[in-house]
Symmetry: C2
DNA sequence: TGACTCGTTGTATACGTATGCAATGAATAC
DNA sequence: GTATTCATTGCATACGTATACAACGAGTCA
């Protein structure tokens, strides 16, 4: 069509409507003072020219982009798919958009977070990764609130919303012991992560409190199905095969379950398997996984509330919110 | 710490370094002319103040945000999760960031796309949704290229990168007939979608060419596991049970497979099941799904190339790229 | 009629950065 | 010695919008 190379600005609209640029700005700003008549003329001219306000220019003045940065580290876990969908959906409902920062490695958070800050995001949510104190300082200096999702860091200035992973581990220990298991094993996920550490700690702690010990331990190293399969394979071929396996995530547990089947081990009669997360697939009939449910909706909602609160009330002390978990009893464990 | 409320700007850095604001800008602009000495002073001052360039202000001048909008409609399908991860990862490698637009319903694309344009994104990728001609016009007027992912629209001005869904349907028909199946059924996904329509068309067309007809048809309506289970349930309880089912997606096929098992039907001896997408789970042992592989990497790579090409060379004719598919033979079908 | 309020409008400026232009100075060539 | 080139620098302006401020006109009240 008739494409002048410069996009339409408020000046163009103002010229056509015979008013000042300020009048145009006011008709597109809620609560500004414009007479119905000018408003009509402006809207008419805007419609004729196909004008759309420039959110970038507006952001520059208002010192607010209405954009939230989300740092996602491990894209693999389906639990985080759901979480991510809910984040974007609920943020949009509240007038915020989402800039995604995909950090393949934990280490890359150090590079991506500064980029988010350069884009002047109003806030950042960091999922499944921690923040170095250097990064936390930088965000604080920029005045950009950060919420850690399902991680916590006691010594930094970041907010956090976190499941009680220690409590989750204890839940499983109690349930397994109550049902008479005596030779429990643990398959770890990523060794460095606080979620993995806390789940294992809660599990072994509670076992110890009740006079038992962790019989065996394997590391899947990743939160994936094949890694879970491989770890279970090592575990189940050992001399003293465990009578129960607690897995650091559902994907690991599903791999372990299939491995047990392939080895001809009956689940749950000969072996109980318990997962963690309660992803959608955990409920599918061929798995029917007993697992610790992390209430994703509540986690997300709380994170958003903490973040928006920090945005609207700058200079507050960082907050750590704990979200309780519960055990979903299905058919992969004899409980 | 010592927080002056305004963030640090190039003026602050310039004052401390004893140079002009322009000199600061130049040290942060590749290829600009600055002496090593001033550069050093500027970087020193910037470091001391914790200065970071403001990407929003830069975007305003350069008429380029280095942000790509991605419109995602149905978050459910794991295939799109992989696709989304690859998009963000590869775009980041090329210096682009990703603004996510989550449209729960198809219809909401009409509302979200204009928002992306207001944020001056350099381009838009629309996955699993079509574009009204009104929206296409608006994007064209804004000079923002759009690439439809796995959809095509012959009459609009949008680019498209698309799998040969008709060809995929034909592949399956040939494979099933070659193996001696005589009573094939189809489980449809979302009725309106072009992917669903084309897959079914290719399947039935090829059946007809070889003197067969589609025996039965059911609609899952959604691309989900439970919907696939329910549709298969209706299909397999009917009088003339099919000897093969072609499903519009892998998730539907996995639901159908579990339904067949629950009904005591042997797969693949009594019933062949074929899916579409080749998501990661399709390869897991308990499913081992025979399916049509959509080469996600190639789809994504091509989409990015088409989009970046359109960004760098404005005013080009829209392009439609076709990507071939192939059949992955596993154990859910007797082929 | 004059003083006052109040809603509307335009002017001017600011947000933080990039860049065209002219000025400066050093280095080179004759 | 002068003329010329060239890299570097600061000044000024532009990007598109929001808003403080003052000006204006209409209306109200005394």
């Amino acid at each position: 069509m008739s494409n002048s190379d410069r996009p339409i600005s408020q000046h163009d609209v103002a010229r056509l409507a015979g008013v000042s640029q300020a009048a145009v700005s006011r008709t597109f700003t809620d609560g500004a003072s414009v007479s119905p008549e000018t408003r009509r003329q402006v809207l008419e001219a805007a419609e004729a020219l196909g004008y759309r306000p420039n959110a970038i220019a507006r952001s520059l003045i208002k010192h607010s982009t209405k954009i939230i940065g989300i740092v996602l580290v491990r894209f693999g876990n389906p639990f985080y798919w759901y979480v991510f969908r809910e984040f974007t959906r609920r943020l949009q409902e509240r007038g915020y958009w989402t800039l995604l920062l995909n950090a393949a490695q934990d280490q890359q958070v150090e590079e991506t977070l500064p980029m988010a800050l350069q884009y002047q995001v109003d806030g950042v949510i960091v999922t499944s990764a921690t923040l170095s104190s250097k990064m936390a300082d930088e965000a604080a200096r920029a005045g950009t609130p950060v919420v850690l999702f399902n991680r916590y860091e006691l010594d930094t200035t970041a907010n956090a919303v976190c499941c009680d992973n220690v409590g989750g581990g204890r839940l499983v220990a109690d349930a397994l012991l109550d049902a008479g298991h005596v030779w429990p094993a643990y398959i770890a996920g990523e060794e460095g992560s606080s979620t993995n550490r806390d789940r294992e700690r809660g599990f072994t702690e509670r076992l110890a409190e009740r006079g038992h010990t962790l019989a065996l331990r394997e590391a899947a190293l990743e939160y994936t199905y094949p890694a879970g399969y491989a770890a279970a394979n090592r575990l189940l071929r050992s001399e003293n095969r465990p009578d129960a396996i607690f897995c650091a995530s559902d994907l690991i547990a599903m791999g372990a379950l299939d491995c047990a089947r392939d080895l001809g081990i009956n689940v749950p009669e000969q072996l109980s398997i318990v997962g963690y997360d309660d992803i959608e697939m955990a409920g599918w009939p061929p798995y029917s996984l007993t697992t610790v449910r992390q209430p994703a909706d509540r986690l997300v909602e709380t994170s958003i509330e903490v973040l928006l609160n920090a945005i609207e009330n700058p200079g507050q002390e960082p907050v750590i919110e704990w979200i309780p978990v519960d055990l979903v009893r299905r058919n992969s464990a004899r409980l």
